[in-house]
Symmetry: C2
Subunit: 547 residues, 2 copies
């Protein structure tokens, strides 16, 4: 049997557009003699459809497309289609897959394990379905599963999230192929995890595995594709492309043969981070209808790396850099920013903010000052935010936020100022990782991209004379690990101090994290790269006790 796997990039909610793409790939698969064409989890709606699932009209339309437009495609001579879709049954909604064959719905496979941690809210929408049955695909008894269904092996995970493992049920019925329709967003370490757990399952059950993953950037989440095929020995026999659509084929008779060649496991590195972020930006721009982006260039490393990612994503002609020096900007800030713009080959404009700043000051300080207080620091940042948004609004640019995760965590950023924009590209990268990415950019080109002075100089917001980040924050090599332990690993101050950090420093950092919740509540969507990003996966009260 010849199975075609369609690793597609749906636009959330765009049922007609996604349907056209599905039909297009189905036809290509048919022309390539596929017996069955498989699509990803919730492939018509795209994943995650979120509260669109609360609209019956949306579910009706999805169903109608499947029944009236896709099902007929499977009429003899086929091929058959296995498609992920929301499915209503007995007044409940399920996350499932329909097997369409010979113009009829041959079988229905519903998801058992519904993730509702981190960014996932599936229990909000779907009901758990436990009565799993295997399906014959050709002569292959197959366990058809949806994403999370395969992620609860009681041996592999020391602390499984769910009380049941649907694979036990399915393999007890004699499955020889595990087919998984996924929409699994990328985070650091996920490639390594996938390519470690999947061969474990193959070997444990002596079963082949086809793991088909969605690709695409959907708001904060980047789905990397990178679909995988294992033989029953747990040898990786195919890995699909990352970050692009692909149609690939598996002949089931190959699934029980030794691998022809060894494909080395894929481990994430800083290059993966670059690809995730540039792809996430590119796809967000495409899906929100922007061709061009604009961002402020401060001469610092955050905006430099964000600009480099934007160029990677959209090309130099589609990136505009704004230098917006204030009276407190250092001389090198514009020099470094101009050097960056030249290195990247992007347009830049220098717009000094002295004039509006002085105008506000004379209006607000009653002829006195400037007072050089926090309010005036914020004011400078907000004037820059206004200019960025003005140009973005007038010239139809997607405005980018260049803030990193470290500053977002401790609130070292200004609401409506440097936090202003449509997408925060590096919001989930710690400052140390921003440096790593800056150096990586310089290493992959044969020339300097990020100016060395930008990398070397002490980080500064330049909102008052001589200001440096280190005046307000612990050094980043101390701050970042504390933040990672507190934000991503949920450790307390005492637990972090137990790992060799000064308790006063740790408590100061955690205090800053708590105090800045109100800023994050209003932050732009940021591309997720760690297992715990701020955004939809971080749900914290604002008005809360500080102890």
């Amino acid at each position: 049997m010849r199975i075609a796997l369609a690793q597609l990039n749906p636009t959330i909610g765009a049922l007609s557009k996604n349907k056209e793409n599905i039909k297009e790939y189905f036809k290509r698969a048919a022309a390539n003699n596929a017996d069955l064409v498989v699509f990803t989890e919730l492939s018509l709606s795209g994943y995650p459809p979120k509260d669109l699932l609360g609209y019956n009209s949306f579910l009706d339309q999805e169903r109608e497309i499947i029944v009236k437009e896709l099902l007929p495609l499977t009429a003899d001579p086929g091929p058959a289609m296995l498609i992920g879709t929301a499915h209503r049954q007995d007044k409940r909604l399920y996350n499932g897959a329909l097997l369409l064959e010979n113009d009829r719905i041959k079988s229905i496979h519903l998801k058992t394990l519904l993730p509702y941690f981190d960014v996932f809210d599936e229990a909000r929408y779907f009901t758990r379905y436990t009565d799993k049955k295997i399906e014959m695909l050709g002569d292959m008894p197959t366990a058809i599963t949806i994403c999370e269904d395969i992620w609860n092996d009681m041996e592999y995970f020391s602390d499984p999230l769910y009380d049941i493992d649907p694979l036990q049920t399915l393999f007890a019925q004699g499955a020889r192929l595990l087919l998984n329709l996924s929409a699994s967003p990328y985070h650091l370490g996920k490639h390594g995890l996938r390519e470690d757990m999947l061969p474990f399952l193959a070997q444990k059950y002596n079963s082949a595995i086809i793991y088909l993953n969605q690709v695409g950037g959907n708001d904060d989440l980047v789905f990397d594709g990178s679909s995988l095929v294992y033989n029953n020995r747990g040898e990786l026999i195919y890995r699909a492309a990352g970050f692009e659509e692909e149609l690939f084929f598996v002949n089931t008779e190959d699934l029980y043969k030794p691998a022809k060649k060894i494909i080395p496991p894929d481990n994430d590195d800083i290059g993966t981070t670059m690809r995730v972020l540039s792809f996430g930006l590119k796809d967000y721009a495409a899906k929100t209808g922007f061709e061009k982006t604009v961002l402020g260039l401060s001469g610092g490393v955050d905006s430099a790396v964000t600009a480099a990612l934007a160029v990677e994503a959209l090309g130099p002609d589609n990136v505009l850099g704004l230098m917006m020096p204030s009276p407190y900007s250092s001389l090198h800030s514009v020099v470094d920013a101009v050097a960056l713009a030249k290195n990247l080959g992007i347009e830049h404009r220098v717009i000094e903010i002295d004039q509006p700043f002085n105008s506000f000051i004379s209006l607000l300080n009653e002829g006195k000052g400037p007072f050089i207080d926090l309010a005036e620091e914020n004011l400078q940042a907000r004037i820059r935010g206004n200019i960025l948004m003005h140009i973005a609004n007038r010239e139809k640019f997607l405005p980018l936020v260049a803030g990193n995760k470290s500053e977002l965590a401790v609130g070292y950023c200004t609401l409506y100022g440097d936090m202003a924009g449509g997408l925060a590209v590096i919001a989930d990268l710690s400052k140390m990782r921003v440096y790593e990415l800056a150096n990586y950019f310089n290493s992959i080109y044969d020339r300097e991209i990020i100016p060395q002075n930008t990398i070397n100089k002490a980080p500064s917001a330049e909102l008052r004379p001589g200001q440096k980040d280190r005046d307000s924050l612990p050094p980043y090599h101390i701050l970042d690990p504390i933040l990672e332990m507190h934000v991503e690993k949920n450790l307390s101050a005492a637990e972090i101090a137990g790992k060799g950090y000064e308790i006063e420093t740790v408590e100061q950092v955690i205090h800053m994290v708590r105090q800045s919740e109100f800023k994050r509540y209003q932050a732009a969507p940021g591309l997720r790269i760690t297992p715990r990003a701020f955004g939809p996966g971080w749900r914290m009260p604002i008005a809360r006790g500080y102890e």
Copy 2:
């Protein structure tokens, strides 16, 4: 048996502070001869604790307070304590209540039904517990339940959310008292619903009911208290105060006697809305450490009502109004705003934005213009946002957002402009309801509070000459019902048109709702008043198809 019920206002996460309050009320109850003192759902952490529950250190601390500080209070001569708390058991976390008696944990009661719709995320944190047992409180077999546990009666609800009803189990064991520890946030119609369903349950099971609810404003959610006691005939024999803490007592022997007097059912009206919003604002300010608020006064009805609510919440001395006229402001805008400030007795400042506006224009338009385009409209709003934030930052005011739900729904508002602030007080009130509230304010005082001209004039953003809302939007008496049907009742364009609205208008409105998702993503927290507010209970993709 004499049961004391403590309707308290915890601060989320403030375990020590909440503990002190619990101890204080416990002592008062003991001094009033209580045999048992009952606290609300998750009363030590406050509800909803959200992702604080992901910190083991937080759960450890909560447990330690209960075991080391609260449990000893119950040593002979008591009284006993029933306290809502997160509870770890068999590696899972439950939402439960501990019955503490004679210095030991007498029994544990865990929640069965975990809401995970709208603003609720309980399945994210807790495991469902189904093995419910009744508890003898004195001679009263009692069904101890947590909040949602009582909201799934299969007769009362035509479409119950869950597949089981824990009350069936508990009453099959002979319960004669239903004791419910709640943290149930207010929304329009909830009083009527509560006071309809609870007597239904009392009569169905011939059981008395004590319904104890949390009070307090926690970010977007307002918990109204209004705890209730019913006898076994379903007669309301006590209703606790709304919007404040209260300790009240129930003698169980009274629960099976006829009511001494009839307490009429409480139905929400516009007065309830006023109390919810002013209380929500007051408590948010208190819990985030602000004494004073500042807001822009445009002369329009939204800012007028917001200011009136702020005065209601914090008193006139703690509210500052800013008039920030632009070249396009009408003459009456400042006149009406000043009249409002005088009616309310609040301080006001007039700050003309011409100077910074012209300064930006000369910087950005290269000597030309103004062009009077959308970018310049946004710029004016953002200059006002800057001024609001500058004064708030410098003088430690809580900046308020005055936008209503209608404009937030269709995106008729400016990110970082009129959307800037710490709390959006009327963000869940449609424009029509804002007018209703304006008229209500004028009716409850013996004089004009909201200037009649503010109520009478055609709504306008005044961002270009002669601009009126009706140039861009359908009239509000058409727009608001369409929005309510689409946003709160999840109806599609076709379904709404079927109710007598022009399909073109409906589609235009729904299109605007979709297109403005990116603005709402970055909106300030807004006080919830309807069953479906924007904010944590509205989870929509930004980058999505528009069909």
